[in-house]
């Protein structure tokens, strides 16, 4: 039985897709995560309070999400509520993560698929005059996210400012002012680039004849119902027709989600009552009432008019990412218009033993850290990773493209590109998924 292997690039980490073909028909499609470091083991015996420094190293792309989830897990274990200003600064930090990630995914990972180039850094020489400067504009938008992370998180990749009980300090008005200017400029550029991206996506749809014709799925997210919030305590699940919802707290995740280990991948997979689930941007766009900022709401309305609610096409994950990019920049500007210093940013605390659950909505979906603490040391750690929620959905979508492009007589050369597009729509993060 021949096996087609597709190494993957323009995603975070080492992964490949393999498709087995028998008698001219695809019989299986696997998404394989190829790396493993074993963080759940590495952190055994580590002093619990060092987790916010150690766990961001699970992933340099999602480090902010891990940093905040770690702090929240410890606060849950120690019974603490950080002061309001700390919560605001953490929100700004998470918004920086959304900006950086969505700009990277849209413009660096997936735009080359729409331009037909192997990297955005070649785009400007390949594309028409009107597209000149895409790479440098894209990097400026991305950079605004990095600046927000540095401002609110102290460090630009593995942040340090969120601490158990709050954040180390407030943000001085002068520092905020500099970044505000950068974010404002980035908002204009982001809208320009997103409009181009939307047009390119329409052209792609026309060329391949679909937005992604996989079946509908359940959606899972930990953002608010009326507007996105990235540090909520409740996970919600939306059924495929969009009508029923279920909500549960992070600590109950095992009661609601089923985990399967894979024998051909270093990443597990989750399902919800035997059904395939999808996390990430499209889940959030489907589940929120509105974005709550003017430009992003404009885009969301356009999106809903075109694709309905819930929307299911795979390439719509990418468009939903653009809406979030605009939202996160707008919301960051709102926050920076208010005071970010002058109040308490952290409360003193006494550590105690027990279990702690910390959740954030990371760019790829709900992320949960669970720690069991004895004698102030970690004796058990679980990292529930958003990419893992998408594993079954990725493989199901891969089977659909395999069936579409492999026919009895031939394999359409479009298959390789389609595999890349499917995987990138989910923006999987392999370092996180395997941890």
């Amino acid at each position: 039985m021949p096996t087609l292997t597709f190494p993957l690039s323009r995603i975070e980490g080492h992964a490949q897709v393999t498709i087995d073909v028998q008698n001219g028909r695809p019989v299986s499609a696997r998404f394989q995560a190829m790396e493993f470091r074993g963080f759940e083991y590495l952190v055994q015996g580590v002093p619990a309070e060092q987790m916010p420094v150690i766990v961001p190293r699970i992933c340099g792309v999602c480090s902010t999400a891990h940093h905040v989830a770690a702090v929240r897990a410890l606060e849950d274990a120690f019974g603490l509520t950080p002061p309001p200003l700390a919560q605001t600064i953490r929100e700004l930090l998470m918004l920086g993560q959304i900006v950086q990630n969505q700009a990277t995914s849209l413009f660096i990972f997936t735009m080359p698929d729409r331009l037909g180039v192997s990297s955005i850094f070649q785009a400007d020489s390949a594309a028409a005059d009107a597209d000149q400067g895409i790479a440098s504009r894209a990097l400026r938008v991305r950079r605004a996210g990095t600046s927000l992370i540095s401002l609110a998180g102290g460090q630009f990749i593995h942040p340090i400012k969120a601490i158990v009980g709050g954040v180390t300090s407030g943000i001085a008005p002068e520092a905020a002012e500099v970044v505000r200017g950068e974010v404002e400029a980035a908002l204009g550029l982001a809208c320009e680039l997103f409009d181009i991206y939307w047009e390119m996506s329409l052209a792609l749809r026309d060329r391949i004849g679909t937005w992604g014709d996989d079946e509908p799925a359940c959606y899972i997210a930990a953002t608010g119902e009326d507007a996105p919030r990235y540090t909520d305590d409740t996970i919600r699940v939306m059924c495929p027709d969009g009508c029923c919802h279920e909500a549960f707290p992070a600590r109950d995740f095992r009661k609601h989600l089923d985990f399967v280990e894979s024998e051909y991948s270093y990443a597990d997979a989750t399902s919800y009552r035997g059904q395939v689930i999808r996390a990430n941007s499209l889940a959030r766009a489907n589940m929120t009432q509105a974005m709550g900022t003017p430009l992003a709401d404009g885009y969301l309305e356009r999106f809903r008019q075109a694709f309905g609610r819930p929307a299911h096409g795979l390439l719509l994950f990418d468009l939903a990412r653009g809406i979030e990019l605009v939202y996160a920049l707008e919301r960051a500007l709102e926050i920076m218009a208010g005071p970010l210093s002058g109040e308490d940013t952290a409360i003193p605390y006494t550590p105690r033993d027990g279990d702690g659950y910390g959740m954030v909505e990371a760019p790829r979906g709900p992320l949960i850290h669970h720690y069991r603490i004895e004698n102030q040391k970690i004796v058990q750690a679980e990292f529930v990773i958003p990419t893992v929620h998408n594993m079954l959905a990725i493989e199901r979508a891969l089977r659909v493209v395999a069936a579409r492009y492999i026919t009895g007589e031939s394999i359409n050369m479009e298959l390789e590109r389609a595999v890349g597009r499917v995987v990138r729509a989910f923006d999987p993060c392999i370092a996180c998924a395997t941890h």
């Binding site: 190829m34 493993f36 102290g154 400012k161 300090s169 991948s265 308490d344």
Partner: protein, 286 residues
């Protein structure tokens, strides 16, 4: 871009991609260099001949080792980037008996790269021309490594880049650390009872952590004075600093210095070089 622009590639082994993300923030290279290979952002299947090869991540699997060995002959210069490539990094926390036991309980998997018994620094297998420490190195440091490293001016230690004042009238008796809530601005973190190792850590990062109110955990590794020495000398130097600024008992300092988040970074040039090999020469470290 000039035709003769420097050609470089980025080989990512087992790491967190933070080093790559940092490089993406160093936008200056885009106009001047030709990025030939970096799977995170470029679809290309193999490392072509290049002037500079940046290697991030440690050697954790047989595939890492294979990719490393294949890429090296195609590069004129090899730079080990970040703690993982230099010492194994955070994965070295697994280099303990009880953790090895846990790894052995992993289910049997097929068709995936096989794990090596531990995570190795890349120079355990190949010759390295330059070391760029940091977790991750800042964009500025990346640019310095790619351009002319001799031109790069950094302070000797993080303290000189931090800007917090050391004071005489604040002598903590214990390492209370983050448990005390908000951090005072402008005053040295050691005076406030934090275990900050900026005084023995090499400069060049511009001290983002202590500036942001969090003690430096030493991700850049020891300063030039200590770099080729073992952990014992480093521990003695830390004790001296804390004796002069605090009344914290020596045993408490010792315990903090030996904690996992310090072990990740501090001895990356000496202890992790391996017992049978000399420490890495400091001339090669940026």
């Amino acid at each position: 871009m000039p035709e003769e622009a420097v050609r470089f590639a980025v080989l990512q082994l087992s790491g967190c991609a933070g080093c790559e993300v940092s490089l993406l923030n160093a936008e200056e290279w885009i106009e001047r260099y030709r990025l030939m290979y970096m799977p995170l952002v470029v679809s290309a299947y193999d490392v072509p001949p290049v002037d500079i090869l940046l290697v991030s991540g440690g050697v954790r699997t047989d595939e890492d080792l294979y990719n490393l060995r294949r890429a090296i002959p195609r590069a004129k210069q090899v730079v080990a980037v970040g703690t993982c490539a230099i010492s194994g990094g955070v994965a070295s926390l697994g280099d303990r008996d009880e953790v090895r036991q846990l790894f052995l309980t992993q289910p049997e998997r097929r068709h995936v790269p096989r794990m090596l018994p531990k995570c190795h620094p890349i120079d355990a297998f190949v010759e390295v021309g330059r070391y760029l420490p940091g977790c991750p190195p800042t964009p500025e440091l990346f640019m310095a490594a790619l351009l002319d490293p001799a031109d790069f001016k950094a302070s000797k230690i993080v303290c000189q880049e931090c800007g917090r004042r050391k004071v005489r009238d604040l002598r903590p008796e214990h390492l209370v650390g983050l448990r005390q809530g908000e951090v005072l601005p402008d005053i040295c973190l050691i005076n406030q009872g934090y275990f900050c190792v900026g005084s023995s850590t090499r400069g060049g990062c511009r001290a983002p952590c202590p500036r942001g109110g969090h003690p430096c955990v030493g991700c850049r590794g020891p300063s030039d004075v200590l770099i080729d020495k073992g952990s014992t000398e480093w521990l003695a130097s830390i004790q001296r600093v804390f004796q002069s600024l605090t009344d914290v008992p020596a045993a408490e300092i010792e315990q903090a210095a030996r904690s996992p988040q310090m072990a990740l970074f501090l001895f990356q040039f000496s202890d992790y070089a391996g017992v049978d090999r000399p420490p890495r020469p400091k001339e090669k470290v940026l």
